[in-house]
Symmetry: C2
Subunit: 450 residues, 2 copies
């Protein structure tokens, strides 16, 4: 069991509890299945990267209300003693099938299906959406940055502008899954074992006043890990000073790891700085760039001929600035034996327990997906949802973060380049199986209003 | 002292620690002042609402590294035993001056100034930006929604799509400061004492199958607090059923609190539903609407003649979707006796310790602001930054959330309507005092590169 924030079970929408109270009063204890899926592609997205499942499974596996939580609910005077007693003893006893973290998925595909007595399955809704939305959204954004960087290394610099503490941690983890090599976030380094990275701010240079002395002081303490920030006053002058100190370091058998550009015309400046470093014999000293980078600016900067070895990617990745939320939903798709559809304008769902089947070609590249019913098999296609919990128990240990990262890398390679375009990517083909279609037609009459 | 997440001191960018190590090695212990400010207005914003200070002050007041944190840092092999020993004993011993939560502020204005030995003042940077950015951004977005709603009540429905857990809590708190009346987030209700709100989801209706029976079951359990969700199948048919149940409730001496619309044409549907309710004698039953609302959609819907009494405002407010981050910075402005400016392209700052002075007219309405030096007085203007900590100690207890909310309401009334326009608002006048200008001119020569 992992550490959890205080009262995380209360981190839920009130209606999960009012509905639960009514289900209890009406003895509605049938098994319900909920599906989690994304209803549409945000601008410029044509694929999604699954992340956040581990947190959700831990939440479900350890779900219980504390005495303190129950006392608060009692104080609201909304709930009966019977219901509070029920909550006190409630644990999650159901089944969870899900897409493993690091897999790629598409619009409408169910990436999580929870089956349990309706109160238990319903009450996980808010947390399921919250944590899987955030982590999949950031993993997707980070994957786009990785694609744009075409092999250059990326480091997560987003912590200061992520939307809160939890987001700061999850962004570090999700971007690492997508292929980032490190994070500036020290707590994420500690908690997840992600390499940490960072050297100096402008204030460091300013506090010394004398730029070259600031570089020298830093080099004394970090003779193998120094990256000098060179734009505090004038980037080119800064680069010349960095080169002087880099040569001094080389004479002592040390090595200036890099310089960092943080403002101005990145393509032009990086070319000039590369020349200054090379002329000083510092061919191995890398150029690091940070300054409002996202996939679009990385691509543009590289196209302009930038000589940049690694990018610090911050705010715009860390909040998924051009798509700061996904249209993600957790919908009741079966209650007892009855498949459920919803008819609200623009908000339909696929009824029934489902499975994603993926066809690949001889080289393992994705060809097309089919959404089918959970109990069918599709020839020459791999079912993607795996059983994760049964009877409220985890079925296996979580994969390590490195395993998830490798899984994503392998999947990303198997996705055709055209779907990775930063804009104008075509839709990946996702079909419905004949059996699932038949179920939908049957469900329309089942589910219509009476 | 309040509860805090594990190892929150490590929730920092690595460079805060590498710089600190170098400052220690170079015996740089002079007093430094850092200023927090927003460099530019995001699209359609012409004012900001201050929020997040309480969390920052608690962070500073309780700052210390745990043995466990230090063991992790030791393991990185980046830091000397001397430095780790220094960190072990480090507490924040400095001074903090800040704009109270609930105040309104503008671009370039310093809303937080931290003065302490440079290591201590520097190390607070990441958390300061993170928490004040998020909370001020959401309070600002929520204030725009309040303005657009022109007196209708707003409820925070964002938890499922906020960027993580911490954001979910902070959004509830920040939107309450701005004037929201309740949140769906139960933990926020418990932690902050905010009223909680919520009744049922579509899955509730679907699980019953029979819509009117679902309404009746809910009414039995919550005879005074029921809000029926009426769009699961067909909104108008749902409204007629709600009206039937509402009349049944009235006969028993109960009252149907409201109905909720969650899809479709909100203006047209709300007018039809109002008519149905009124014809059933349910004139006091309110119409609640939720469906991708933000300030723009609220304004548009009301302009179209919607009969809506209250809005559930979710995702777009909860992530500040049209401006998901602010260009906020925490910059060194003085080191020892030396004022500091930064020259990087597009990233300058105002040197020196500062104060915001606000002029108001006879009715208390904002006229103009002046940014001056911390030690000057400006006639007929109120200084806004207040001393919050001295020698590492809090100077007063935090205001209650209700006090902060009232403070904001009073301030918002004092801000001229033209600055509240959802787009095209003019710039509020913010000037620099003669003394601050003179300091900037002097600082340019102080701070230039050597």
């Amino acid at each position: 069991m992992k550490e959890r924030p205080d009262s995380i079970e209360l981190l839920t929408d009130l209606y999960e509890l009012t509905m639960a109270a009514s289900y209890l009063e009406n003895h509605m204890a049938n098994s319900a299945t909920f599906s989690l899926f994304i209803r549409k592609y945000p601008p410029n997205r044509a694929y999604f990267v699954a992340a956040g499942l581990e947190d959700f499974l831990e939440y479900a596996a350890n779900f219980h209300f504390s005495e303190n939580d129950l006392a608060y609910l009692d104080n609201t005077t909304m709930f009966s003693p019977d219901f509070l007693h029920y909550l006190k003893n409630m644990r999650f006893t159901g089944t969870i099938r899900a897409l493993p973290e690091g897999e790629i998925f598409f619009k409408d595909e169910p990436i999580l299906e929870v089956t349990a007595p309706i109160i238990e399955a319903q009450i996980l809704e808010t947390f399921a959406i919250n944590t899987i939305n955030l982590q999949s959204m950031i993993a997707t954004k980070a994957a786009r940055c990785i694609h744009a960087a075409a092999g250059r290394r990326l480091v997560d610099f987003s912590l200061r502008r992520t939307q809160g503490i939890d987001a700061g941690l999850k962004v570090a983890r999700s971007s690492y899954i997508a292929g980032f090599v490190a994070t500036s976030n020290v707590l994420a380094g500690k908690r997840y074992g992600i390499p940490i990275s960072g050297t100096m701010a402008h204030s460091y240079i300013s506090s010394f006043g004398d730029e070259i002395e600031a570089f020298r002081a830093f080099a004394r303490l970090f003779p193998e890990k120094a990256v000098f920030l060179i734009d505090t006053y004038d980037t080119i002058a800064g680069a010349r000073k960095a080169a002087i100190v880099g040569q001094e370091m080389a004479k002592k058998g040390h090595k200036l790891l890099g310089v960092r550009l943080d403002s101005g015309d990145m393509a032009g400046l990086s070319q000039q700085v590369r020349k200054i470093l090379d002329e000083a014999g510092l061919n191995d000293t890398e150029i690091f760039a940070s300054s409002s980078f996202d996939e679009y600016k990385i691509a543009r900067t590289l196209k302009e001929g930038a000589k940049i070895d690694a990018f610090g990617v911050g705010t715009r990745m860390g909040v998924s600035a051009d798509a700061p939320y996904f249209d993600i939903a957790y919908k009741l798709v079966q209650y007892g034996e009855r498949p459920i559809m919803k008819f609200s304008t623009g908000k339909t769902n696929l009824a029934g327990k489902k499975q994603i089947f993926r066809r690949t070609d001889g080289q393992g590249r994705f060809v097309e997906d089919m959404i089918g019913t959970a109990d069918e098999t599709v020839e020459e296609a791999r079912p993607l949802l795996e059983p994760m919990m049964e009877n409220g128990k985890l079925l296996k240990t979580h994969p390590s973060l490195e395993e998830i990262r490798e899984r994503f890398a392998k999947n990303f390679q198997a996705l055709h380049e055209k779907y990775k375009a930063l804009d104008g990517a075509p839709s990946y083909p996702v079909k419905l199986s004949a059996r699932l279609k038949a179920l939908q037609n049957a469900s329309s009459s089942y589910s219509s209003p009476r």
